[in-house]
């Protein structure tokens, strides 16, 4: 029974990890920028859900509807006004710039919300269901389903809409896309906005399950990194595969080695992948 429980947990967590990583992966794949603010965006989204529920009485599903456009605009402007100015600069410059932005956002959150851990508690509680001996909390299940739905939505957007196709085109060959009449600057900003919106929505879902604190942003960022490298850059299915693999390795690792080693294990996995297969499970070579 333990094996099945571990498997189910991995499945549930894996979808959430995919949702955390997918915006990060999009930005990295399309803009070739490692977006270190991603973790703080997620936490900010969680605070949004928490605030909407506690002060306005809005359920997290309405919070999703607020978070998506708000974060999109925020991300769009951030890219246009700041990131765009250094987008062609070497890795070090873009990395350090997003790190600086993250310091500001994170410090602002610590200042306003304090570093205490909070939890969004739904009233009435959703309880849990058990099939045979496997117990799954319902809120976790709902969050997972929403994460999957968001992932699928992004997949549809990238495949079916004109903007999505333009994003994919820029990701594959920037210069050719320019020749085909794609406005790269606005696509970059759109991709960054989408990444931010997905991070905000992921944050709303995280608020349902995990405690909220500005201090957790680096943990989310770490997960996004690992999932991205495991799965491969800029691909939706890659993020899902990476998320599931990470959750599985963490779950099995916690059972056999104890939960304290889960982080080490995931980073060892990351380094192995970086050296052996840097393009990830489903990724293609050529993005550095």
């Amino acid at each position: 029974m333990l094996a099945i429980q571990v498997l189910i947990n991995a499945l549930v967590l894996g979808c959430l990890y995919a949702c955390i990583a997918i915006g990060f992966s999009l930005v990295w794949g399309v803009l070739n920028v490692i977006n270190l603010i991603h973790g703080s965006f997620i936490v900010l989204g969680a605070y949004l859900a928490w605030g909407a529920y506690n002060s306005l009485g809005l359920s997290p599903w309405y919070a999703l509807l607020i978070a998506a456009p708000a974060f999109f605009v925020f991300g769009y402007l951030l890219q246009r006004l700041l990131l765009n100015r250094v987008i062609t600069a070497p890795v070090l410059v873009t990395l350090t710039l997003t790190f600086g932005l993250d310091l500001i956002l994170n410090n602002a959150m610590i200042y306003y919300f304090k570093a205490d851990y909070r939890k969004l508690i739904l009233n009435p509680p959703t309880g849990s269901i058990s099939i045979f001996d496997v117990v799954v909390p319902v809120d976790r299940l709902i969050a997972t389903a929403s994460a999957l739905a968001l992932t699928f939505l992004l997949y549809l957007l990238l495949r079916r809409s004109k903007v999505g196709r333009a994003i994919v085109a820029v990701r594959l060959d920037r210069d050719a896309a320019v020749l085909m009449g794609v406005d790269v600057k606005s696509i970059y900003a759109t991709a960054f906005g989408l990444g931010a919106a997905l991070a905000g929505c992921a944050g709303v879902l995280m608020a349902l399950i995990f405690p909220i604190s500005p201090l957790t942003s680096s943990a989310y960022l770490g997960k996004a990194f690992v999932v991205c490298v495991l799965g491969g850059l800029g691909s939706v299915s890659g993020a899902l595969a990476g998320g599931l693999l990470l959750a599985l390795v963490e779950g099995v690792g916690s059972v056999y080695l104890g939960p304290a080693h889960a982080v080490t294990l995931s980073f060892v996995l990351l380094i192995i992948f970086l050296v052996v297969r840097p393009q990830g499970l489903l990724g293609r070579k050529g993005f550095e």
Binding site: V93, L97, D102, S218, H261, T264
Partner: protein, 316 residues
Amino acid sequence: MTRTNIALLVLIAFVAALPLFGDAYALRLGTMACMYAIFALSWNIVGGFAGYPSFATAAFFGLGAYTTGILMNKGVPLTLSLLGSLVLCLVLAAALGAVLLRLRGHYFAIASLSLVEVFRELVNNATDLTGGGMGLNIPLVSGSSVLSDATFFFYAMWGLLLITALVVIAVSMSKLGFGLNCIRQNETASNMVGLNSTLYKAVAFGLSACFVGAAGGLYAAWVHYIDPSDVFDILYSVKPIVMALMGGLGSPLGVVCGAFVYLGLEEVVWRNYIQIHSGVLGVLIILLLLFLPHGLISLHAGKVWRGLFGRKAKHV
């Protein structure tokens, strides 16, 4: 010996005179300044000369701090413990560098960043040896007065800075420095003309880690208590980059000046706005990258004007 190298040594010599007019606070500031300068100079070997964006400084700082702390708790004298930290970091970093430096760009940055996390978790979980999250107490070195203790650690850190500077100058003038420059400009081409780039990069990574490790050891002995979240702080990885960018990438004199200026700014912010200090650091980073991408060393009135109002600032 170029003119800038001499200027660097003169600057470091000047810092040595600090205890003449200082109380314990000035000494603390001086020790920190020397430590930051060691970070920046060391980072410059990999980040400035070879052009690899390393975020591993905190990893080797923490490793050195813990190695010295553990050795001193076992009764090993300070000098030997420091030497142990230095050698361990040199060997381990060279070995890791041979593997990790095969990665480039973002991938190398992430791998080096994750090194910090891995070391922190390992130290956190090896409770028997390191005390885990409880931290590690380190025996006092002298036990004499506060001021003489502060003076001792100031000169120790200063000495380490001097050694680091001499080694970095030697590297910059040697075949190794030349090779690293070639690697930065075009690694594939350097490989093709027969440069053993793996060896060069591994040696560079080892050198960039060993002095940071020794500085970590000195820091541990200086503050008498370390814990994983303190010494494996990711900010220790980012600060040297900011200092190097501030002073001017690749120039040893520039990065040391950058370190001193950075410490000054940090101290002013810490004293006045403690609650928002990391936010202020963030603003500083952004202003620096947008308006002064070549660092203080490039400061001439005309250049500043162009940097602020010109069409597009060029980046390093």
